[in-house]
């Protein structure tokens, strides 16, 4: 990593103490531009006084009603898979004449995606909390999910150029 103590590979050199004083100089610039240090946001009167109790109510209420079933409980997975298979079979038979099998597959994926995104209150933290080390080793990713072109497209669309420079 290049810093003022090491000679950088590219041959450029910054003045002694340059980086140490950079923040102060930046703050001076901001102050000279008249950028306020306060956001201007406010909260309703008494909001923070009653907040503790409301948070405790929602947390304890959630604990009582929101017991999360382990994601990798085998019996649970088997039961869910059985129900899902039955439903799929039912809908497939019901719509056999009007929708192709490809269409049914698409509906299933879309419905699942929509359901997970909008109705399931679960995120990375929940999933990580439920995973054991052996579960992680059991996970296999389909190659089709990570095709080179798709990864490249994702990086181009989502990663800022500066991030790449910074992480070097």
């Amino acid at each position: 990593m290049n810093n003022e103590h090491n000679i950088p590979d590219h041959g450029f050199k910054a003045p002694k103490g340059y980086f140490g004083s950079l923040d102060d100089r930046l703050m001076e610039t901001i102050a000279s531009e008249g950028i306020p240090k306060n956001t201007g946001f406010s909260a309703p009167n008494g909001y923070f006084e009653s907040l503790d109790e409301r948070i405790m109510d929602s947390v304890l209420g959630e604990e009582e009603t929101g017991k999360v079933r382990p994601l990798f409980d085998r019996r649970f997975v088997v039961a869910v898979a059985g129900i899902a298979a039955s439903l799929l079979l039912f809908f497939s038979m019901l719509q056999q004449n009007s929708i192709s099998s490809e269409g049914v597959q698409n509906i299933e994926t879309n419905m699942l995606t929509q359901y997970i995104e909008e109705d399931v209150d679960i995120d990375l933290y929940d999933v990580v909390a439920m995973l054991e080390t052996e579960d992680v080793t059991e996970i296999t990713f389909e190659n089709s999910l990570f095709k080179k072109a798709a990864v490249e497209e994702y990086l181009l669309d989502n990663v800022e150029e500066t991030t790449l420079i910074q992480e070097k």
Binding site: G40, D123, T162
Partner: protein
């Protein structure tokens, strides 16, 4: 104020968990509220996200290993919750998350819980022009005075990267405000 390691031990023990969590809420509610507020902008939305954040903290406290500070761990959860909230709202409205934030900025002018001056409103508009990550870095560094080391834990980015992002963000904001002044 209870020491962090004492608080974490209490939070992870069954018999002290509830009392310790009350202490945690009392210590961090305001800081997390203002952090979330700067991302989602609206008070009621912030209230929802803050409650979800504490629910997640409570639910996952047993998996907190102490590799980072408790405070930065909660900041990270709050940040994720706030961004997820904006993305979900945008998806429901079938707009991009940038458009959702633009809408929120427009509402600020008539928001009774925004008492900012014209320059403060302009600052929010300027922040909104930054990429999401730069917005987070600017808000946490400029308004909350979080150190680069703590920011590095929250955003999982190198200190050098954060410094450069922050400097770029400041330049863009000052340029936006200057340009806008000349119109």
């Amino acid at each position: 104020m209870v020491e962090e390691h004492t608080l974490v031990s209490a939070l992870q023990s069954e018999d002290q968990k509830e009392a310790a969590f009350r202490e945690l809420v009392s210590q961090y509610k305001e800081r997390l509220y203002w952090h979330i507020r700067k991302i989602v902008l609206d008070h009621d939305d912030t209230d929802d996200v803050l409650q979800n954040t504490f629910v997640k903290v409570f639910r996952n406290i047993d998996s907190f290993k102490g590799d980072s500070k408790l405070y930065t761990w909660m900041y990270r959860i709050a940040t994720n919750e706030a961004i997820t909230f904006i993305n979900k709202r945008a998806k429901r409205a079938q707009i991009t998350s940038e458009e959702a934030k633009e809408n929120a900025i427009k509402k600020l002018e008539s928001d009774v819980y925004f008492e900012g001056s014209a320059i403060q409103l302009k600052l929010q508009q300027a922040i909104n022009t930054l990429p999401e990550r730069q917005q987070l870095i600017f808000n946490m560094k400029y308004f909350d005075d979080i150190t680069y080391e703590e920011l590095s834990e929250v955003l999982d980015t190198s200190v050098g990267g954060l410094k450069s992002s922050y400097h770029i963000a400041v330049k863009k904001i000052t340029a936006y405000i200057k340009t806008d002044e000349t119109i």
